[in-house]
Point group: C2
Chain length 231, copies 2
């Protein structure tokens, strides 16, 4: 069954999913990178971001680096069976307010690591943006329910993954739209930034931890909604 | 050097150190026990609480159960070199307001697991309470600084351990009195209760994570204060 899920989402021990002061130099906010150390080391990440193949002395392509360990398994699992993504506008870029032009095309270069339709929530309309590798960014201006509806339709029976950021996930949690969350809890405190849990009662929203695995870098936690709330 | 520390203090992934509605049946609040599963299994806990010795078929005392694993090591370490404790009143018992009489002597029976002076913060005076095994409860009514001063004097050069609860730890954090915290982060969400982190910036208070170890049950995190703030 098709799910709406959050996956591979890193948070600090004090609940922050991003540091403060996001900008062009700090797409994840100050110190935000510290949350994601677990994924950077994985074979999955290096492959997706093109750092997994290095030439050896003979010039042959050799897969390199990135252990195929538990962290890698969770990174792979997070990416599996995703038919469409939803991103808050700040996940797409640092620009606030009206788009000055159509120059900004996301943080990821010409071939973003999505390869499916991506619905970007914004108050400012913009034509769809077709990128290389199957990624098309659609800009949704009529609200989060509409964004989810469009994403589900585009996902063709696969899952919809809410990529973030924190504000976007919180909005979908509050309307009961998220079925499952895989959080990667990093052993750091950020002290400030965007807090995923503050004032939000995940237990009250019907979520419980159904499994967890700790690695040296991070604690992976799966939360599933088991109540009868609307989906 | 003598430290003021929090140790072996369990919190949920959403930052709760106790569940809501503490009472006689739920000393840790509703679902609070779920935070402490890691320690209940240890050899240390079973020994301290008298469950570590069971008679075998021949009637000889045989140490039993409770693995001497990483969790046990952290439990032992938390208890090491403690010269005095500080407890908030709710850690001492479920009674609120003035003491009706001197009947309540803590949750732990005649021989509490402290074996050193314990300073209980309260607004209601009461004579010291000498228990078996070296534990004496002193009731401090003139504020948290006074409690800490008395505890340091009584600790005789050893560490002062702030046992909790959450409100007490937060008060001492805010005045910069805590040098080190060992938190045990359990893979559960409580959704409500007493939150250790909410509105508190541990990074801003000078704390950083200096080490962490995850076990199947819990993630142990050591935070140390490395700034020049008052101690």
């Amino acid at each position: 069954m098709s799910k709406t899920k959050v996956a591979g989402f890193s948070v600090s021990l004090d609940g922050y999913g991003a540091g403060p002061h996001q900008d062009l130099e700090n797409p994840l906010g100050q110190r935000g990178l510290e949350l994601h150390q677990w994924v950077f080391k994985t074979e999955f990440f290096k492959r997706i971001h093109g750092q997994g193949i290095e030439s050896d002395a003979l010039g042959a392509a050799t897969p390199s680096a990135g252990p195929r360990d538990i962290n890698n398994e969770f990174a792979e699992r997070a990416a599996a069976n995703v038919g469409a993504w939803i991103l808050g506008r700040n996940m797409f870029g640092p620009i606030r307010g009206a788009w000055p032009d159509d120059e900004w095309k996301g943080w990821w270069g010409p071939n973003p690591p999505y390869h499916v339709p991506v619905f970007v929530l914004t108050h400012h309309a913009r034509p769809p943006l077709e990128m290389e590798g199957g990624t098309t960014f659609y800009f949704v201006t009529d609200g989060i329910e509409s964004g989810l509806k469009q994403a589900k339709a585009a996902a063709g029976g696969k899952d919809v993954r809410i990529g973030g950021g924190v504000a976007t996930i919180r909005q979908y949690l509050k309307i009961g739209a998220i079925d499952e969350m895989h959080l990667a809890v990093a052993p750091v405190f950020l002290g400030k930034g965007e807090n995923l849990f503050e004032g939000l009662n995940l237990t009250g929203l019907g979520f419980g931890v159904t499994s967890h695995v700790a690695t040296a870098e991070v604690m992976h936690v799966i939360l599933e909604k088991n109540s009868g709330r609307l989906k």
